[in-house]
Symmetry: C2
Amino acid sequence: MPLDPRTRFGLKLIEIRKTRGWSQERLALESGLARSYLGGVERGQRNIALLNIFKLAEALGVAPSVLLETPVAEQELAP
Amino acid sequence: MPLDPRTRFGLKLIEIRKTRGWSQERLALESGLARSYLGGVERGQRNIALLNIFKLAEALGVAPSVLLETPVAEQELAP
């Protein structure tokens, strides 16, 4: 069963953030989003919308579409 | 100057919907989203969030990330 889109997005965001070696605080600073909000996004508790997805992508230096790709964690769960 | 993310998403959605040969009505039926809401999304008036992006992707039979790719219309505007 595929992950909930919010959980999936959170895992992907964590994955890309850690690839950068960034803390949540650093990503909050770079993106202009609140750290508590980012925490909720990473825990899959937020139905994040387009404008904030684009802010995160710009801060992380990736195409916005990359944030909607399947996280490695889910790929590993696949049969 | 890049398009507003909402405008860009709307153009991409129109592009993929027309590739399918679907009307807005058909996409509304397939996705479970209201036609008037879809009209607003396509006109770039809605800050659509993750759960609805995934509903549209599933209805259209594309990976969710495809909906965040650059629309052809914007590629043609690039220098």
